[in-house]
Symmetry: D2
Amino acid sequence: MRYLLLKYKKKDKSFLIRDFSQDFHSHYGVITKEQLRKAKPGETISTQTGKEFLVEEPSFPELFKKIKRRAQMIPVKDYSAILANTMVGKDSICLDAGTGSGALACFLARFVKKVITYDVREDHQKIARKNAEFLGLKNIEFRSADIFNPDEIDVKNIDLFTLDVTTPWDAIETADNVLKRGGYLVSYSPNLTQIARMVNSLELKESFELIKVEELIEREWEVKGDRILRPKMRDIAHSGFLIFAKKLQ
Amino acid sequence: MRYLLLKYKKKDKSFLIRDFSQDFHSHYGVITKEQLRKAKPGETISTQTGKEFLVEEPSFPELFKKIKRRAQMIPVKDYSAILANTMVGKDSICLDAGTGSGALACFLARFVKKVITYDVREDHQKIARKNAEFLGLKNIEFRSADIFNPDEIDVKNIDLFTLDVTTPWDAIETADNVLKRGGYLVSYSPNLTQIARMVNSLELKESFELIKVEELIEREWEVKGDRILRPKMRDIAHSGFLIFAKKLQ
Amino acid sequence: MRYLLLKYKKKDKSFLIRDFSQDFHSHYGVITKEQLRKAKPGETISTQTGKEFLVEEPSFPELFKKIKRRAQMIPVKDYSAILANTMVGKDSICLDAGTGSGALACFLARFVKKVITYDVREDHQKIARKNAEFLGLKNIEFRSADIFNPDEIDVKNIDLFTLDVTTPWDAIETADNVLKRGGYLVSYSPNLTQIARMVNSLELKESFELIKVEELIEREWEVKGDRILRPKMRDIAHSGFLIFAKKLQ
Amino acid sequence: MRYLLLKYKKKDKSFLIRDFSQDFHSHYGVITKEQLRKAKPGETISTQTGKEFLVEEPSFPELFKKIKRRAQMIPVKDYSAILANTMVGKDSICLDAGTGSGALACFLARFVKKVITYDVREDHQKIARKNAEFLGLKNIEFRSADIFNPDEIDVKNIDLFTLDVTTPWDAIETADNVLKRGGYLVSYSPNLTQIARMVNSLELKESFELIKVEELIEREWEVKGDRILRPKMRDIAHSGFLIFAKKLQ
C-alpha cells in the first residue's frame, strides 16, 4: 500500500494520505487528487490558498503515530525500555497481554520474530488487527483467551511476556508456565500501588528474580539559533512504571 | 561458548564464569572447578566458607553488562531510545560512528540486519571486536575510515546513521551521502553546546528535517514489602542528549 | 481588609470573596450577600441550586495564588530555591529587578525586612503595587530606574539582588555596586543560552564567585486510598534555571 | 563569634576557621595562626607549600552546610519548599517534631519569629542546641515531650507544624490541637508507603484539608565556557516527599 505524508511546515502538523482517488481537504485548504498522484517525496505542494506542505515518505515511526490508540496510551519511551532491559531480538518470540489497541504488539513485532497477543475483548482485537495491517506487520498472532487462566494459554518457551493489565499478579502463574528459562516478565502499571503488590507477589515466587522497577522520564528540548535552549514548557509528566523479572528455573 | 552467571544473593553482585577449567575465587570464598562443571541454572552453590550463590543462565542484557566499556559509558536507555524513535528493525542496515567500545554497534546488531561501524583507532576496534565475539554477534562489520570525509565512506542506502563523536556537525555531509530517503540520523552528545551547534547545522541543510531533541531520565525504584517504596537515593543524574533527524531527499 | 475563600468541593476550584455588598455569581449558582456576610470559616454553604462550597479563611499562599500575574509566570518552587540558597531572612534587604507583576517582590517581602524593586515600565509598577496592597505588604519600595545603569541605582549594602530580565549580564556592574560583601546575586532565565552567557560574564568578574546553577523540577503526586499513587499525568515540565553567585569583595 | 571560610580554589573544598589561636592544618599544607589573624575577606593566602586559599566571610547558607547532621539528611530544597507552600514569615510561630539534628528548626528560625522543637532523645537535643548556637540563632525553644501524646504538648495557635518522624499519622491529633485555623501541617517522608498512609489518615480527619503531595527534584548544571553545558553526571536522585495540609476549623 502506498502512503504519503503531508507536513504543514509552520505548525508541526502532518497528514497521512492513503486514498489517492480523492482530494485532500484540511483547514489549510484543498490539495487535489491530481496533485497527490504526482507528488514526490522531497517536493513542496500548495493548497489553492497558497499554504505549503512538504511531501514526505512516511517512516515507520511516523506511521506508528497514526495508529488508533486508546485513551490512556503508553508512550513509546516505555516500550523502548522493554527492549533495553530484555534485549529480545530477531529470533525472539513474545507473548503480549492484553492486546488493547495492539500498539505494544506492533512495536515489538517490528523487532522480534513473532508476537502472540491475547485479549478477550473482540472490539480490542478488531482495532489491533487493523493497526497491524495498516503497518504491514505479518508476524503477530491474535488470540482470544483468559490470560489469568494458565490452562487457556497453551504456548511454551516464550522469551518475553509483557503485561499491561490492572491485576498483573493474577498472571504470574501463566507467566511461570509459558516463559523459557532466562526469559523476561515485564509488567506496566500507572500506579505504584499496583507496582508494590506485583513486586511483593513476585518475591514470593521462587522461579522469578526481580531485576528492577523503573520509570523513564522523557524531556524534549527546544533548540533555536542562539536564543532558545530549554526543555519544552509543558509535557507529559507521567505515564507509568515498569517491572522487570527474570525467569530462573 | 558456555557461560554461567553466579549471583551472590545478599549483595546484588554477579560473576560471569567463562572458564570451567579453573576454580572461581572471590572475596566471598572459593567455588571449585568441579562445582562449576556440575552447576545447573536454578541451583544454589556454596563456597567453602558457606556463602551462597545462585546459578543462572545469563540473559543477553546480563552479558551485555559484562562487555568492556570506556570510561564515559552511554546507558542502555539511550540506545533503546534510538530504536524507539527510528524503529529500525530486522531488515535495516545501520552505520555507526565512532565505534568506541562497540557497545552501541553490539546493541543495534541484536535488533537489525547489519551494522557497519567506523573508527580510525585500532585500539577501539580491537576492544569492540572482542565484545562482539563475546556476545556471539556476527552481523557487525568493522571498518577503519575517517567518518568526516564523505569520500572514504562508500556505503549507500543506510537506514540509520548513529553518531557518538565530539564534532557531529562535521559528519552531516557523510550522513547526507549514505542515508536513504526516509532514513534517520541520530547524534548523541553529553553537552547542550554540542547539541545546539548540531541542531543549527542541521537546520541549514535542506535534505534533513529535525524530528526532535530528547533526554531520557531513568529512575530506578526500590520496593520492599510495605515499608520501602521510593526512588533510589543516588543515581546517574545525566548521560546525554539525543538528536533525531530524518533524511528527506 | 476581610477576605473569604469559597472552595467548591468537587472540582478543586476556589473563589475569593472581597466584596460582601454583592451576591456572588459563578456557574455553580448564586450565593447571596446575606449568606456571605454570615459565612464562617469551617462552614459549608450552598447556592440556590444546591452546590456546596466550603468557607475558608484564605492563607497567605492562597491569596498569593490570586494575585495578577503576567503570562510567563515563575512558579513558587523557583522562588523557594532563592530562599534555600541565600537564606536571606528577617533582617535582610533585597533589591529586585525587574518588578514585572511584583510576584517575587511580594514573596520575598513576606520573609525579609525590606524589598526595593525596580522597573521602568509604569504598567508593571501599577499591577505590582496593587498586588502588594492586596496581600497587605508594606515593606516593598517601588522605584523606577534603569537597572542596567549603575548610576541610577543609589542603594548600598544589599543582601540579595534578584534578576529576572532577558539580559542579566548587563546588570552585573550594578550588582557589584549595590551588594554588600557576602551578599548574593540570583539570576533567573528560562533559556540555557542566557544562563551560559551570564555564567561566563560572572566568571570574568573577580568580585563574584559562582556558587551554582540549578533547576528545580516539581512533581505533584496523586494519592487516593489504596488505588491511586502516582505523579500527576500532565504538569509544567519546565520554568527556568537559576544562577547563584556570592559577592566576595 | 568570628568565622572565616578558606576556600581551596581548585577543588571546590572549603574549611571553616573558628579558632584563631591555632595553626590550620589540612592536606594542602599549613596556614599559621598569624596568617589567620591577619586574613581579610577577598584576599588569597597560601600554605607553606604554596597552595592558595581564598579568604571569605561565610554566608549563612555556608555556615548552615557546616552544622552537624545525621546520616539521612534532608536537603535544603525540601526545607524551602515548606516556606514556599506555607509562606510562614516574620510573625509566625512554628512547632517542629522531631528535632533530630535541629537542621529544620534552624532553617525555619532564620525566617520566622519563633520555633518550638520537640524531641525525646537527649542526644538529639544536645546536637541541635550546639547547631543553633553555632548559627547564632536565639529564637528556638527546645523541649522534651512525646509529640504523639497531645496532652504533653501544651502550645496553641501554631502557624506551622512540621513533622519528620516515621509514623506521622500518630501526630495528627496533636497537630489538630496546636494549629490555629488556617495553619499548616507539613509532613516529610522518604517512602511513599508512609505518604499514602498519612494522606489517607488526613482524609479521615474533617478538620484538615489536603493541599498537595509534592516531590522536588534538584538538578545542578555545569557550565564552562562554550564547551560544558550539562547537568551534573551524578547526583542525589531522591530525598523524600512532602505532604501539605491546611487546618480548617
